[in-house]
Subunit: 190 residues, 2 copies
DNA sequence: TTTCAAAAAATGAACGTTCATTCATTTTTA
DNA sequence: TAAAAATGAATGAACGTTCATTTTTTGAAA
């Protein structure tokens, strides 16, 4: 019961992200969206900050769980890469709300020092894959930041463009071209 | 005279972006920073929205001018690419304010439909270079969105990581590795 | 099963704060 | 001295949060 209402409130925030935009979300709107009174939110969260931060943590968990589900120790690293990219893209395509939220949360006034480190938590699955690839000499021996940027950066921009209707990431051909281009940026020559 | 004061107000906004964060910038703070009274701002701008939008336009102009300054019709495309990347990185390294502002403006409540298209204006210099490269068969024949993502995305992430002290983009070695990785993502094989 | 009082949960009006904007007044310029 | 520019206190709207009051749930007694 208690968890149901908490979830309803969290989902309420998400539904508002796209409709009104992150910075216009008020507690009153969240309450309305969740079907509770404004004061009720404060029975489940200390305040707006905690609400937003918990939602962020929830999304990161879901994302990482989904993407790491594609990690198979025994598969060739290129296949692991493909599977992870595919899952990540699918995750956001199916949850535009999540993407918008994450993007805007990064620069929200709620991000305190503790969470600022968490900000790179979304890169953990990628990081794991890269470390393995480097060991196997399948991935270039470049600084981690460069490798991460070469995969995370393009994905972000592609999704942004997709949602702005500048491209169609649901097309398999677009996805494949995109995955291949990223792979060539990080793959060791052989 | 009039332009001086207008510039002072615009610069005031920029100085506040890093100090207090985009969403805590109030008109009163801007006024203080610019050394004028709050009401004075309204003699130069219709309101906060116009102020922020003009600042955005100003930054885009400066950026594009700076990066396109590296465009030389006669140089090999790879050198043009290098020069443009170099200028773009330098531009933001020297103007952290600009970077922070641009990042946060994208999702600010001020972005109206008209400007939402302008949002991709920052990609114009890259776009120009890519078109030329495609014609010369030096750059892969991929959809524009993919190519743009492979250069703009990583740059964004690298800069974000640089400012979060996860890497040091001022190091020439890091820059070179980064430029090369991007190039391999978009370069045609030969 | 029904009753009912105590506890728990939920409500939303009210409060205090913040902020963009206005405009009557003052200061500066021509 | 008239016009232009600048000022900053006042205004009203928006928002997060609180808390006195109401509603719902619980479980023991009848």
């Amino acid at each position: 019961m208690v968890q149901d209402k908490k979830q309803a409130i969290l989902k309420g925030v998400l539904k508002l992200v796209n409709r009104v935009g992150f910075y216009h979300i008020s507690m009153k709107m969240v309450a309305e969206e969740a079907g509770v009174a404004a004061g009720t939110i404060y029975l489940y969260f200390k305040g707006k900050e905690e609400l937003i931060n918990e939602l962020y943590t929830m999304i990161v968990s879901e994302f990482n769980e989904s993407v790491l589900g594609a990690y198979d120790q025994d598969s060739p690293i290129k296949e692991v890469y493909r599977a992870m990219m595919s899952r990540a893209v699918l995750f956001y395509l199916n949850n535009k709300d999540y993407f918008s939220f994450i993007e805007q949360y990064t620069y929200a006034p709620f991000l305190f020092k503790e969470n600022q480190e968490q900000n790179f938590m979304l890169l953990l699955p990628l990081y794991k894959m890269m470390r393995a690839g480097k060991k196997q000499k399948m991935i270039k021996n470049l600084p981690d930041a460069v490798l991460l940027s070469m995969v995370h950066g393009p994905m972000n921009t592609m999704l942004k463009m997709h949602f702005a209707r500048k491209t169609d990431l649901t097309k398999a051909t677009v996805q494949n071209k995109f995955y291949n281009a990223c792979w060539e940026a990080i793959a060791a020559h052989n």
